[in-house]
């Protein structure tokens, strides 16, 4: 398995408070990896550390085999794009202005956009179907449109790896699917490595190639969907008693219903 990113002996936390005490983590190249786990298990923290938002307290992260600590933040931005959870744009910022921020690591000086920059911006807006919104102000868009615009920004960054922190939260079911279909297309057509934090297990199972299941700051299970989306795993990770069947359409395992373990119902 070729790796896009690898974290070795990671210790991650906020000051005194350690969230992830010791972790080795692998993000396979060219695949969609979903990080799942209960609230507070450290999945967003892990993603932030992988995206160098949160400094490591110890350990190393390698990106395509190169130690991230040896790279300038600007060079990392050419390899890895991040979509944080619930991103906010300054009031009045236009869609095309926001997408153009993706070209930041390629610009110099005053930052006049080159022909190449314009091409990347337009391509990103086409792929995410936001081209006809380009003159709109970001804060006037609907939740689904806004999320697509942010993904367009990440795309304009032209990186082999994209990390997304809960990209489907606050969206209705159709818009959640729309975002995940978009990620799938990017993964298949442009061979992007995608890693995301997501709460909906069935969507995670349906759209991912690789799952990482976390609890209390450690990885309990990782591997392909069939290996992780199992009754025993969900019991260990979420304390859920889950009824799992094959999805007749996607042929991936899917959770038909569930209850809390030890509950009386």
């Amino acid at each position: 398995m070729e790796l896009a990113m690898e974290g070795k002996q990671l210790v991650i936390g906020y000051g005194e408070k350690i969230i992830i005490p010791a972790m080795d983590v692998k993000i396979p190249k060219g695949k969609i990896t979903s990080i799942i786990g209960p609230n507070g298990c450290g999945k967003s923290t892990l993603l932030k550390a992988l995206a160098r938002i949160l400094p490591l307290q110890s350990g190393d992260i390698e990106i395509e085999g190169v130690k991230m600590s040896s790279l300038k933040t600007e060079s990392i931005a050419k390899k890895l794009a991040l979509l944080p959870q619930g991103p906010q744009a300054p009031e009045g910022l236009l869609v095309e202005e926001l997408v153009a921020f993706g070209r930041y690591p390629y610009q110099k000086g005053f930052g006049k956009l080159s022909k190449e920059d314009h091409e990347h911006i337009e391509r990103a807006m086409k792929a995410t179907k936001v081209l006809d919104l380009k003159g709109r102000s970001v804060d006037t868009l609907s939740g689904g449109q806004r999320q697509r615009v942010w993904i367009a920004m990440a795309l304009a960054q032209d990186t082999p790896i994209i990390l997304l922190d809960e990209p489907t939260t606050y969206l209705d079911m159709a818009h959640q699917l729309e975002i995940l279909e978009l990620l799938k297309t990017l993964n298949e057509k442009e061979q992007k490595t995608i890693a995301l934090v997501i709460h909906d297990l069935n969507l995670a199972a349906r759209f991912s190639d690789h799952l990482i299941a976390m609890r209390s700051g450690t990885i309990l299970y990782e591997g392909d969907v069939e290996h992780v989306m199992r009754k025993q795993v969900l019991a260990d990770v979420f304390s859920l008693d889950a009824y799992i069947e094959e999805d007749p359409w996607s042929h991936k395992p899917t959770m038909v219903t569930y209850k809390l373990l030890h509950s009386k119902q």
């Binding site: 932030k48 995206a51 933040t73 991103p87 009045g92 910022l93 610009q107 000086g109 990440a154």
Partner: protein, 329 residues
């Protein structure tokens, strides 16, 4: 129509030129227009010429420059601190400058002949020192916490203002009045030397900020996004904080405790041209210039034969308009 910067900027520049002329003409000894023109462009009456070239022109230009500087400073600070309420006064810049001056006056009772040279230096030192303390307290491990910096600024400037008040109580009346009017914001001791110094240093800082407006734009995004697109947030925001503080200190050294300008003008500029710093920087600068020129005209004509501190006039003009802007949303 004014949303288009190609219309807005030339209009503002013309407005500034008009206000400049009006401002030179305004005041206790009002100058007839024909004399004004002849002394500016030809050899007119010697007294009028002295009044205009040596007294009024430096003061008028100083007002313009201070408006520009404070507005630019506020505009930068609001971006890097992610807070619309930020302005240089909030960080205790004026308070620090005021305390230094009060200390000097109290310790060296004499009016040293070099006072007019010393005052800017003192103000600058006081402002710089205040910011340095706040900065040290608000950053750790290569991370600057803008919110902590602002809270620190509020607390420290309150403490410093109280100290200054205590010092002022010990002053003779004349000194007390001087410090009082300085704190309210008064263009003091504007000479050609200080105008020239302000112009050169502010031009350099303006150039740097305008050149780096791409980075300023990226810093105004939330921190996770800024880092994600490759901004060295700690290094760059520190640079912008320092540039903004230098600007504000320069202004405080000649204009005293003007506070409102740095808050209102960038806000107004943002309402008109939007959040893109490539337009916002020039717009703030021009609007700041306009406001202080108007305030200067007001300060020298409204209460003849007395002169109001320009800071008070700027606030009286700015505050209702600011409220109106906030109410409208």
């Amino acid at each position: 129509m004014f949303k288009n910067v190609k219309v807005l900027f030339p209009c503002l520049i013309v407005l500034i030129l008009l206000l400049l002329v009006l401002d030179i003409q305004a005041g206790y000894a009002s100058i007839p227009w024909n004399e004004l023109l002849s002394s500016l462009f030809a050899h007119g009456d010697e007294t009028t010429r002295f009044l205009i070239v040596e007294l009024r022109l430096p003061r008028v230009l100083a007002s313009l420059l201070i408006g520009i500087g404070l507005s630019l400073s506020g505009c930068v600070l609001q971006g890097v601190s992610h807070n619309e309420m930020t302005e240089p006064g909030l960080l205790g810049i004026n308070a620090g400058a005021g305390l230094m001056m009060a200390l000097y006056l109290l310790l060296f009772q004499n009016q040293s002949p070099h006072f007019s040279f010393l005052l800017p230096l003192l103000a600058f030192a006081g402002a710089g020192l205040t910011f340095w303390i706040e900065y040290k307290l608000a950053s750790n491990k290569k991370k600057l916490h803008p919110n902590r910096l602002l809270l620190m600024g509020v607390a420290i400037s309150m403490a410093i203002t109280s100290l200054t008040t205590i010092l002022m109580l010990k002053m003779p009346d004349q000194q007390y009045a001087f410090v009082q009017s300085w704190i309210a914001g008064n263009i003091w001791g504007a000479s050609w030397t200080s105008v020239l110094f302000l112009t050169v240093s502010m031009a350099v800082i303006f150039g740097l900020i305008a050149y780096k407006s791409r980075i300023l734009n990226a810093l105004a995004l939330q921190e996770e996004v800024s880092i994600g697109i490759g901004v060295n947030v700690f290094k760059e925001s520190r640079l912008f904080f320092v540039l903004a503080i230098i600007l504000a200190s320069l202004c405080a050294s000649i204009g005293g405790g003007l506070s409102f300008v740095g808050l209102v003008c960038p806000h107004l500029a943002r309402r008109i041209v939007g959040p893109n710093y490539k337009k916002l920087v020039p717009a703030s600068v021009l609007i700041g210039g306009v406001l202080l020129l108007v305030a200067d005209i007001g300060s020298r004509t409204l209460f003849l034969p007395y002169e109001m501190p320009i800071g008070i006039v700027a606030t009286v003009i700015g505050a209702p308009y600011f409220l109106y802007l906030l109410m409208k949303n």
